[in-house]
Symmetry: D2
Subunit: 330 residues, 4 copies
């Protein structure tokens, strides 16, 4: 079985521009960690930083993680809150850019202190909304410069960019796997890679398995997240609720390449019980894992060599549509 993980925000409650009073009462950081522990299947979590609304110490966090048999795999600095709504790396104000990078340096220290594998950069406010709003050459250069400054300062830890086509900005500077790889190659540092969020890839009109293969072929697939959506937006639904075949193909591509990282959840269960949502996601991922064991790899390779869609689909359905047998009550 793979190692399972989740972003800690999976266990928070949410606001949006309409339900500004939140989809439920606030859940504090330690309670979020306890909920992650209550899933019973998670080994690692990704933690936002600063710990908003938390007045305890880092040791308190460590203790909460330990109590729940969890490790922090990553720190995600919050470079998308009020200070940074016009961008972090690419903010038009040099003073804000400086603050953003300082925040990322601090987040790196926390990540090192917690023994994390990487710092996750999600520049969701770095981009533009309107035609003619920015100079595209300049904003891209600022993004690369900021990454270079940050990553070269901390060769002892990895950084990942989680690309996303849009939201909250109408357009984000790192919208796709290929654009992100172009930027990473330009930066040219070994400790900068990609976190591929399955849902971002799906609604960005990519084929997630193809995006994973490309990142692997460039040696840059450092981490992955899964969830689901309706292909038009980052709905962050529970994995396995809509796009079963493409989820299966995504994990098949990872296995074919012997990629052995964490199978990590990035779901936003706005109206669902978050512990139950994680449990059900993992139940589905276990079925996928079984289907991978059952799939006839040789026959599939032969079908793919001929681009024979029907033969490939037949093998896939044989594996996937029997994958839950015996797991119904799991």
């Amino acid at each position: 079985m793979p190692t399972f993980g989740a972003g800690i925000w999976h266990f928070a409650t949410y606001k949006d521009r309409y339900a500004t009073d939140g989809y439920g009462p606030p859940v504090g950081l330690l309670e979020q960690i306890d909920r992650a522990g209550a899933v019973g299947e998670l080994s690692v979590v990704d933690l936002n930083w600063p710990f908003v609304g938390f007045d305890g110490t880092l040791d308190d966090v460590k203790a909460a993680l330990a109590k729940n048999d969890l490790k922090a795999i990553a720190i995600t600095p919050e470079i998308y809150t009020r200070d940074f709504v016009k961008g972090s790396f690419t903010n038009p104000d040099p003073a804000v850019r400086k603050r953003a990078i300082a925040l990322m340096h601090d987040a790196t220290e926390v990540a090192l202190e917690l023994g994390c594998s990487y710092v996750k950069l999600w520049p969701g406010q770095d981009g533009w909304d309107y035609p003619f709003q920015v100079n595209y050459h300049d904003i891209w250069q600022l993004a690369l410069d900021g990454l270079t400054e940050l990553c070269s300062a901390h060769p002892e830890i990895n950084y990942v960019i989680e690309y996303k086509p849009r939201e909250p900005r109408v357009k984000i500077v790192f919208p796709s796997v290929a654009r992100t790889l172009l930027g990473i190659e330009r930066v040219g540092l070994p400790n900068l890679g990609i976190l591929l969020d399955f849902g971002h890839s799906l609604y960005g009109q990519e084929t997630p398995a193809d995006a994973a293969q490309l990142a692997i072929d460039h040696g840059r697939l450092f981490a992955i997240d899964v969830n689901d959506n309706m292909r038009g937006w980052d709905d962050d639904m529970v994995v396995g609720s809509v796009h079963l075949v493409e989820t299966f193909e995504f994990f098949h591509t990872l296995r074919r390449n012997d990629w052995d990282g964490v199978w990590q959840l990035d779901q936003f269960p706005f109206r669902e019980d978050s512990v139950q949502a994680a449990k059900q996601a993992i139940r589905f991922l276990k079925a996928i894992h079984r289907a991978l064991d059952v799939l006839d790899d040789d026959a599939l390779a032969q079908a793919q060599a001929a681009h024979d869609a029907l033969a490939a689909q037949r093998l896939v359905q044989n594996a996937l549509l029997t994958s839950m047998a015996g797991l119904e009550n799991a």
Copy 2:
């Protein structure tokens, strides 16, 4: 088991604006019928009319159908070829409108002669491409007037509108289930209903099961087609290749309402063997049928009464992800 059917064009070869020489050598009408027969699971077919490129008689067609144990369920008049590229019912030229309706009258005679259940109207060229190109009031009125004239002339047979958001026109006058029902209610005749194409509904941002329920609640769901796509275009892929859960939900809604029409294929296997594509589609539909038998309807109704997505998904996965067990070699 349900009755299975297919549009006869499933067994043709295709052209598009690039491969103007076709995706394969032309396949004549009788050969198309033989291919439909070769699937071994089809009971009915929907025939385009006029029989383009066919110089035989209607009796020849009847004989070919009989030989293959097939019945014609419908006639689809070709109101979208060169004569009608600016519309059929709604063509700006009254003479062309007249020719279009004459063609539909003739198609009705053929349908009656063949004992069809309905005449299918697919007004794919009725619409607009550019902003400001048409007067929306006028074009809608022309569509309703044409339908009224046609359907009131033949109370002895049903007509169905196959709605579609777009292609070949950038916008089609009957783009969605609700718009089509509005028009049908305005026409107010009992013999005019809807053919709901699952793929059209899916890429039109509807929930196909919801669209089916609405049409049923209005007493207008006369026929259905299935296929699959990537939610952005009418790809007419083999059913079961992408959107398994929503296909399952679609058929679940039909069963819940005791809808017992034909399960009909509208696939375009551009680059695939058409007989094999139909066989594989039906293999999948049989798995869906089994899953419907297995699905815990009471528990699902309870989950739905509470809008409990997680409970519902769990039941669905239990049924769907075991549905192929034992059918692998079917």
Copy 3:
């Protein structure tokens, strides 16, 4: 010149699921009204209710409006906050449905007290997220029952439904003009109509001018909102920033039908000065108004009668691409 208006939220600051601390410091209700007044062009506003975070009286609100030469045109009850995240009319819990309708009754009282033209219903949480989550027949019936109960209780005032394809729910029960008209016809009351939001129509794959025409032809176009987006989401950008031609066509359709309601803004200037955003929108709308005066209606009608896209576009460009001449410094 038309009467201009705006939703009062145009002058608030916003939160979303990432910038949970807001895109700026909170702006109180009275300050929002002052900002609306500062635009200098607005005559009416639409007010959310309850007045969240406001501890003054209704008289205070009246005074603030009067001071700024503003009238309340509508009240929008907040049926999409925490209590209602699983729906208002269609909530699975009958007690919540009751509370939602009670809130709408109360909002109606406030609207009457303020002399509003209508109460606006935006059931953004009424819908579903996941396949199989709801029974589509039941949820639609609940929506119609709730509307019937509400609207029949207050024949002295109008209600409008602001349809929207999605957000915050993945699917909303009133997603399109046609579906909403179907529901309104089923309810069958004269005081229930549509508020057509241009942006909702645009990203819902409608042609906004066609949607307006249909609502007018059913006698149900009670109000409109304008803004802009990238056709994939409700970006609520400043009107005139992207889709100039379709905005022009929308207003042309209103004029052709002698529709003389308020030209109302529903923009979310997340990162912009809200007063400036409104001013610039109105500057553009004035240019549109001039273009309508200049447009050669007879020639256009002739082009449309022939579905002649090129002739129509030529006339449109002549009017639109000269419309700002002399207004540059306005």
Copy 4:
């Protein structure tokens, strides 16, 4: 004024999968050239090759071009017709791959003979339709190998890849500017660049001006095409019919970078007069050219340095919405 050009197919008639008898009677190659000449504003054309259905000589073509004051700027080999429906470079059959590359070699000879600037490669059939159909690593490698073989054999001429997200394949191997640049950098030859089709970029969720800037910054923007669409498909509508602001921004980015290539049309006037469609496109492009002259570049640079969308939009509207003044009868 810039040099204007067009793909010669602009002046053909079209088929699609429904109107298989064509949107009009066939138009022969020489007549297409005469129509291009009749526009009166075109200096160059891009020619498909082989000259399908043409039994004259290359000298006949040269004469027809000369007669119409036209030059061939490019040859587009038809690597997307029946032989190649499962791919050209990436066809699963090595013999077909060989034939495809042979065809491209031959096309190169024709291009050299005609004094063209480049050979255009549009691998529209190179990709996949179904999940699990291909091995993504292998298909990408085949694409790069084929390009390397071709381009290294002809250092005396340029090649351009016209990327496109989809159609006719559900997914194409070169779908975006960034993916194409990644491939080009991997190939590493100086004579391989990009033809950026504005419409492909637009419906591929890119910002076309940003895509152009990126290609320029990599030294690979060899050519451009313009047209328009509804952001969901490659509608190939007449430029200037929908997305005026983004078209303006696209050309502004080209000018800012002193890019001085041909302004080329890639329109498919299915139902319009092709000469008139080209004339009207060029009328609009001249208005854009005037707007570029009028646009206050310094003020815009200042607005962009601050990411000030409102200030930028204001300048843009001042230039764009006055640009047709005096050209109304052009």
